[in-house]
């Protein structure tokens, strides 16, 4: 008796579900003989072994040593790499910037993606053209778009920077941290809107037309329908994108930052991932870099777990 009440109580808060695995959704169906399952996932596991487990093991083993870059000499330093990191001002600054940067670009990308997806759903003629245009930035390699953005907003020669100067804005991302942060954030959002957009458009298409029509007949306008019908129906997608945007902001903005600001000025746009690169590959401080990778790996695992838990609850596979 008490057990069931406990369970019921726990079920009552939505986030509690994220902390435990479930048997809903996909997990409802599984192989009775584990041998076949193992055989089927073996190729994938082999890839993971080479691209995840071995590198992770390397990172873990490097995180506790101080090592010569060529690997000739190393000394065990225990937790020193971690304590140095956690007490260093530059790592804290980088973590704070990364936090605000990921939140900001996440919310902005989602909001703009939603507006664009909503707007295209209203369009009757030439939907395809609009969609193609909005998706274009995704086809540009991050390095190329970074170089173009850096040039466009270069305070000396960039045409868009000149425009800002003409408007009386003293734009200079080389000497102004706020400008540099704005530049990186805007470029990241621009680059990632496409991703959110395509998912949101697809999710909106899956909202049953009958519901929309019924609401329309009852006199609900497009905005009302959007907030009361579409939004709740596409909530799983929004949550999925929310996680994906975090992952993107954290891990996939390297090329943009490297080409636009090099993490500067004065480390103002150094994300945690960019710092791993700088410490490891430029400064050749492999121990510190490995310790940072381990911290990031833990973060990534947490995000992935959260996402899986969320997906298996929200997705309903009707077989």
């Amino acid at each position: 008796m008490t057990m069931t009440t406990d369970t019921a109580k726990r079920r009552s808060s939505w986030w509690e579900g994220l902390l435990r695995p479930s048997d809903q959704g996909l997990k409802g169906a599984h192989f009775r003989r584990p041998g076949i399952a193992a055989l089927l996932i073996a190729p994938q596991l082999l890839i993971l072994l080479f691209f995840f487990f071995i590198p992770s093991w390397k990172a873990l083993s490097l995180a506790f040593v101080q090592i010569d870059p060529f690997g000739g000499r190393q000394i065990f330093v225990g937790w020193a790499n971690f304590t140095k990191l956690l007490t260093s001002e530059s790592y804290r600054d980088s973590a704070v910037f990364t936090l605000w940067f990921t939140i900001l670009q996440n919310v902005a990308t989602l909001a703009l993606g939603l507006i664009l997806a909503f707007a295209t759903s209203m369009i009757i003629k030439g939907k395809g053209i609009y969609r193609t245009f909005i998706l274009l930035p995704y086809a540009v390699a991050p390095v190329i778009s970074g170089v173009i953005w850096a040039f466009l907003f270069n305070p000396g020669v960039g045409p868009l920077a000149q425009l800002l100067h003409a408007m009386g804005i003293a734009w200079d991302p080389t000497l102004n941290q706020t400008d540099a942060i704005i530049l990186v954030t805007v470029a990241t959002v621009w680059k990632h809107i496409c991703y959110d957009y395509i998912f949101l458009v697809a999710a909106m298409l899956a909202v049953p037309a009958s519901l929309q029509e019924a609401a329309a007949i009852d006199g609900a306008g497009p905005l009302k329908r959007f907030f009361t019908i579409t939004m709740p129906m596409i909530m799983p997608t929004i949550f999925f994108l929310f996680i994906m945007n975090f992952v993107h902001g954290l891990f996939e903005t390297f090329a943009l930052i490297d080409t636009m600001t090099k993490g500067g000025p004065a480390a103002a746009t150094t994300t945690l991932v960019y710092k791993v690169y700088q410490d490891g590959f430029v400064n050749l401080n492999l121990g510190a870099s490995a310790a940072q990778s381990v911290i990031l790996m833990i973060l990534a695992v947490v995000f992935t777990l959260l996402q899986f838990r969320a997906m298996e609850r929200k997705v309903n596979y009707q077989v």
Binding site: Q66, I67, D68, P69, F70, G71, G72, R73, Q74, I75, V77, S90, V147, A150, F151, L152, F153, N154, P155, G156, V157, G158, D172, P173, T174, L175, N176, Q177, T259, M260, T261, K262, G264, P265, A266, A267, Q278, D279, F281, V282, N283, L284, N285
Partner: protein, 437 residues
């Protein structure tokens, strides 16, 4: 991708040749990774094709792997799987990393073992001393440079000026005169300004950058540049930024473009930028000695650029070929050609004499500045060079802290203090790893 394809094509061609001419042995391929682009890369490829044409036993294949940091990182990664090149060009700042890693054949030994007699005493003093440990040379100086000041003669004439002043204090006045004369940008600095404006300010002024003869005296060296007139130098640079005299190029363009397009009146950079300067057509330019600090005797400046290392984990034939190649490009004729093409300093007195005899410096007087500046006076503990473990990392922190000064987040003293504190942590880490050796 491209290089793989090319390599495939080359090896396919080599195989076809081998089939067609079974009697001829294929030349031993020797990979060389370097970091220079543009005009300098053309000269590097020129040296390679000359060497390949001069003999048939070895084939040097030169590849640009990115900047110095990227090339070193690529070499380290490839070394761990045994795929590293035979010859590596590493920055002067990476000397300790390469030396202590113990992965290269010591240069003096390489030359002896392969029958090349090099007169190490004939090498230009501060160039050779940089790569010497206990009197033995460990790396071959290759593209050796030192900073000079380039200036736009037309803009100087506009302000009624003739040439840059001998001291930074005098230059400061001139930059303000230029501004009053309507010159929008007085100065632009190359990205390695920590080297030209701060480190060389110390060497030329005979101020200590660190204790223990700038690291030559032991691993327990400590940075002290936050207690010397370097503080005034940083304050001066900051005032130029505030007065709108000094400009930064920012991402998306190269600093030298602000000089070559005629916008900025002065450009402080490596003598290796001469190759680019020769292409200027819009205005008259010249170069001059780097200014010093007022009231100090001017000493020699310090070197920059790269040196060559031959990796020890290769076959004896490859190592022999690399030794032959290095001896070949060290000959006075090749050195003179290289220096004339690029603006880098000739590394031996013999090469310098060859260039003098050719009358090269009469036609190109600014090319002689670097070597005169490097050999000025007797090198002191403060001017013979720098020897710091993980030098790259300390410099990265110095740059970061200087940016904090430029944007007004820290005062010059605060910025330098922070850079010294962080730099000393790097030195202590290095001492932990290698000090007991």
């Amino acid at each position: 991708m491209f290089t793989t394809k090319m390599a495939l094509r080359v090896s396919a061609a080599a195989m076809a040749l081998a089939v067609a001419l079974p009697a001829t042995a294929a030349p031993v391929q020797i990979d060389w990774w370097y970091s220079n682009g543009g005009k300098i890369e053309e000269a590097i490829q020129g040296l390679i094709s000359d060497f390949n044409a001069s003999q048939s036993d070895y084939q040097i294949v030169g590849t640009r792997k990115g900047n110095y940091e990227e090339t070193l990182a690529a070499t380290i990664a490839s070394y761990r799987v045994g795929q590293n090149p035979v010859i590596l060009q590493a920055a002067e700042r990476g000397f300790m990393t390469m030396l202590n890693a113990n992965v290269a054949v010591p240069m003096h030994q390489l030359m002896e073992d392969n029958g090349h007699k090099l007169d190490w005493d004939d090498f230009i003093a501060p160039v050779a001393s940089f790569f010497k440990v206990d009197g033995k040379v460990y790396a071959m100086p290759f593209n050796s440079s030192t900073p000079v000041i380039y200036y736009n003669q037309d803009l100087f004439a506009k302000a009624g000026l003739d040439a840059p002043a001998d001291t930074y204090q005098g230059l400061d006045k001139q930059l303000h005169q230029l501004k009053e004369a309507g010159v929008g940008c007085g100065m632009v600095l190359a990205n390695d300004y920590y080297w030209s404006m701060l480190e060389n300010f110390s060497t030329i002024g005979d101020y200590p950058w660190a204790t223990k003869a700038n690291g030559f005296g032991g691993y327990d060296t400590e940075y002290v540049y936050n207690t010397t007139p370097v503080v005034d130098q940083v304050t001066r640079i900051k005032s130029w930024i505030d007065d709108g005299i000094l400009k930064f190029a920012g991402q998306g363009m190269l600093p030298e473009q602000l000089f070559t397009n005629g916008e900025c009146a002065t450009y402080i950079a490596s003598t290796g930028a001469h190759g680019t300067m020769d292409g200027i057509t819009g205005f008259k330019w010249s170069a001059d000695f780097l200014p010093g600090d007022e009231g100090r005797e001017m000493r020699n400046s310090s070197i920059g650029g790269g040196s060559l290392w031959v990796m020890a984990n290769k076959t004896p034939e490859q190592i022999k070929g690399a030794a032959d190649f290095i001896a070949y490009i060290g000959t006075p004729e090749k050195q003179a050609w290289w220096s004339e093409q690029t603006g880098y300093v000739p590394i031996t007195n013999a090469a310098y004499e060859t260039m003098k005899a050719d009358g090269f410096f009469e036609k190109h007087p600014t090319r002689e500045i670097a070597i005169q500046q490097l050999t000025r006076g007797t090198p002191t503990d403060n001017s013979q060079g720098f020897r710091f473990g993980n030098g790259n990392e300390s410099v990265a922190y110095l740059l970061e802290e200087m940016q904090a000064v430029w944007i007004g987040k820290k005062t010059p003293q605060e910025g330098l203090d922070a850079a010294v504190t962080r730099g000393n942590q790097v030195l202590r880490g290095y001492e932990d790893l290698y000090g007991a050796k």
